[in-house]
Amino acid sequence: MGPITILTVDDSPSMRALLKHALVGQGHVVHDAEDGLLALDWLNRHIPDLVITDINMPNMDGFGLIEALRKQDRYRDMPILVLSTESSDEKKARARDAGATGWIVKPFDPDKLAAAVRRVTH
């Protein structure tokens, strides 16, 4: 698998740094944003291969980001993974209905994350 471009969205600078460390270590190009609004701003100017987003964020949460992206033709089919401390069936169903591709429970396992990235970007 060649390197892909990934946008990670998380309001925690520490979590963004850890996620970037893991994904760059797997050979990917990683950009990040600290909430849904800033992610949308970046996505208006760039098109990544994958978005990995947290759910609980200020300004625009992960659900809002997914819904906003799925309304745009160019992001209708792009994979979007949720990475969250939440794991309730209710939250997962809401993400699925919004158009998420999958859900990963924090703390993420770098190997499982790598496998999920491979699977959704092929």
Partner: protein, 186 residues
């Protein structure tokens, strides 16, 4: 509430390793006993609510299945759970204040585990932009900690490790969630 009131509080929740709790209940006290573990106490005066977590990172090399990245990921998870619950109640990183407690070097066979835990917590809070208003870490004594989350009032008492019930002493490995990194594709 003065110190005696904290000690005599009837509505008390014990925050065990791997757990966290956030509340704005003025009658509630959150308590824990710490050895090598770390407890972060957060308080946001803007919403008059606070919370406490209690976690332990294994020392690098102590558990071959846990590399340093995975340990930091677990610690970040413990921190994020607490911070997220505060933010859900209206707190923000800019108005929250943090206290760090614990990180004693109790286990002679793992002399620096407490220091490693304290360093992680300090670095995480600084990187996340949450001011640390008080830190009481290190040494070789255990700590008994009580937090009144509605006011942020805290009592921390150093206690000899022999006075700590064995049930309160942490194991050498972190209590990671049962379903770490589970992936579900829709």
């Amino acid at each position: 509430m003065n110190t005696n009131a904290i000690l005599s509080a009837k509505n008390r929740i014990n925050v065990i390793q791997g757990d966290f709790y956030v509340s704005d209940d003025p009658q509630l006290v959150l308590s824990t006993v710490l050895g090598s573990c770390i407890a972060i106490c957060l308080f946001d005066p803007a919403i008059e609510a606070g919370g406490m977590n209690h976690f332990l990172l294994a020392e690098p090399g102590a558990n071959s299945e846990k590399d340093p990245l995975q340990q930091r990921l677990y610690g970040a998870f413990a921190m994020e759970q607490l911070i997220n619950e505060m933010i859900k109640r209206g707190a923000s990183r800019s108005t929250m204040k943090a206290h760090i407690y614990g990180g004693s070097n109790i286990h002679r066979a793992m002399a620096h585990i407490g220091t490693s835990n304290a360093n992680f917590a300090r670095d995480f809070l600084r990187q996340d932009g949450i001011p640390i208003s008080l830190e009481d870490t290190g040494g070789s004594a255990a700590r008994r900690l009580d937090l009144k989350p509605a006011t942020g009032q805290i009592r921390c008492k150093h206690i000899p490790t022999e006075d700590v019930p064995s049930s309160a002493m942490p194991p050498l490995l972190p209590a990671a969630p049962a379903r770490v990194g589970d992936v579900e594709l829709f």
